[in-house]
């Protein structure tokens, strides 16, 4: 029953970053994904806030994993997550009120982000604090990356800017739909399509090269 294939720290970190990206592969946490990604700066702030909550709660869950009986684990995890969401909430209010207003209720809603509870339950409760935190940070940064990829496209098309920098001058025609909720779905779907085409191409190339090796041998 012993897991002989212990992943290295680097593997733990990169798992969420790309291989199992929370947004594009696991498709978790869609509520903030659609709601706050109207600009790149909002996306990155939301992603970092989630990363902090994810890493901190996974660390604490992992630290307390022997003390928490499984009957009360969900209540405990939710309590821990809610704590760090509250901390994030205060921290963002203290840092910038305008950012706090832009993100709105979605800061508090991190508590209901299935990514956070999912990682605490599926990963952090089973491993020691160091890999749990590293893995959660990777997942959070993967989430941030996904949000920023969506938010960047929406901001470029919907506003003509990227991180507030004007890209096309003042005569840019904004695509109104991109800053409305449907735009989130369009851009998300567009990225998924790009990745699907890319994966299909990779599989085709791999199959072709495998065939080539066989024929060559």
């Amino acid at each position: 029953m012993m897991n002989t294939n212990v992943p290295s720290t680097w593997e733990e970190f990169t798992e969420g970053l790309w291989e199992r990206n929370p947004i594009f592969v696991m498709v978790l946490g869609m509520c903030p994904t659609m709601a706050v990604t109207v600009s790149a700066i909002n996306s990155i702030s939301m992603g970092l806030a989630t990363t902090f909550v994810l890493a901190a709660s996974c660390w604490l869950v992992s630290l307390l994993r022997h003390a928490i009986p499984k009957e009360v684990r969900i209540a405990s995890y939710i309590g821990i997550i809610a704590t760090f969401v509250t901390v994030t909430d205060y921290a963002i209010q203290a840092l910038s009120l305008s950012l706090y207003e832009a993100l709105g209720a979605y800061i508090q809603l991190i508590v209901a982000n299935c990514l956070v509870l999912g990682r605490a339950e599926a990963h952090a409760a089973k491993v020691s604090p160091w890999p749990a935190t590293v893995n959660a940070t990777g997942m959070g940064l993967g989430f941030t990356l996904g949000l920023t990829m969506i938010g960047g496209v929406r901001e470029i098309l919907g506003n003509g800017t990227f991180f507030g920098l004007s890209l096309f001058g003042e005569h840019f025609q904004p695509w109104v739909v991109m800053v409305l909720p449907p735009g989130g779905f369009f851009v998300m779907g567009g990225w998924l399509l790009v990745f699907a085409l890319w994966r299909a191409r990779k599989a085709r190339l791999a199959a072709a090269s495998a065939e080539g090796v066989q024929h060559g041998a």
């Binding site: 604490l60 009957e71 704590t83 209010q93 203290a94 109104v176």
Partner: protein, 228 residues
Amino acid sequence: MNTPNSAQQATPTGAMIKALGLVSAVCGLIIVGSYQGTLSAVADNKRIALERAVFKVIPHAKTVSEFYALPGARIEPVKAGDPPAGAVKFYAAYDENNALAGIAAEAAAKGYADIVRVLFGYSPECQCITGIGVVSMRETPGIGDKILIDKDFLANFKELDVKLNADLSALANEVKTVKHGSKTQPWQIDAIAGATVTSRAVGRGINDSAQALLPRLVPNLEQLRTKP
């Protein structure tokens, strides 16, 4: 290791309560700690945001005090805790000589997408609204959000008439949003062509707020003349 055997063993009640108590204690400590740590920064931020909003609608203002206008035409400064029943909050702005520069209050009404909240500045001298600033709105970009930038629309609020009637019980003329290009009276708001719903929301919000606030405020203006 989670062997099937250990999974079947029931956890004693005491252990569960202890675990939950431990989690609550840890969480409680963290929350209270972070609340205390950020309290002053949050309060500072809120004050700066309020001042920035008020100074935008009332030029010459240097400081802001918050007040409640209570039923029965009374006013009192805002204290910590819940507002008294039926209170309307407003802000009195003072210039560098501590003389009253103007009054600001919030107005809100349902727009096209969500509630549109604006802060308007009121000048007791001309009994008119002297400027508005949008606090929050989620109107359609490119259409409804013209209320932020449309010069003709904002010009409506340079001197929007909100005089009270003779017995100071209500506005003499209701603030009303009219179709683009048909403004004839100083208490009318010329709507933005194509963004009528949002323009109307601003007008309705200002009207409701002025109707609620001004009859209570105007009789007490003397009390506000100098900074308390």
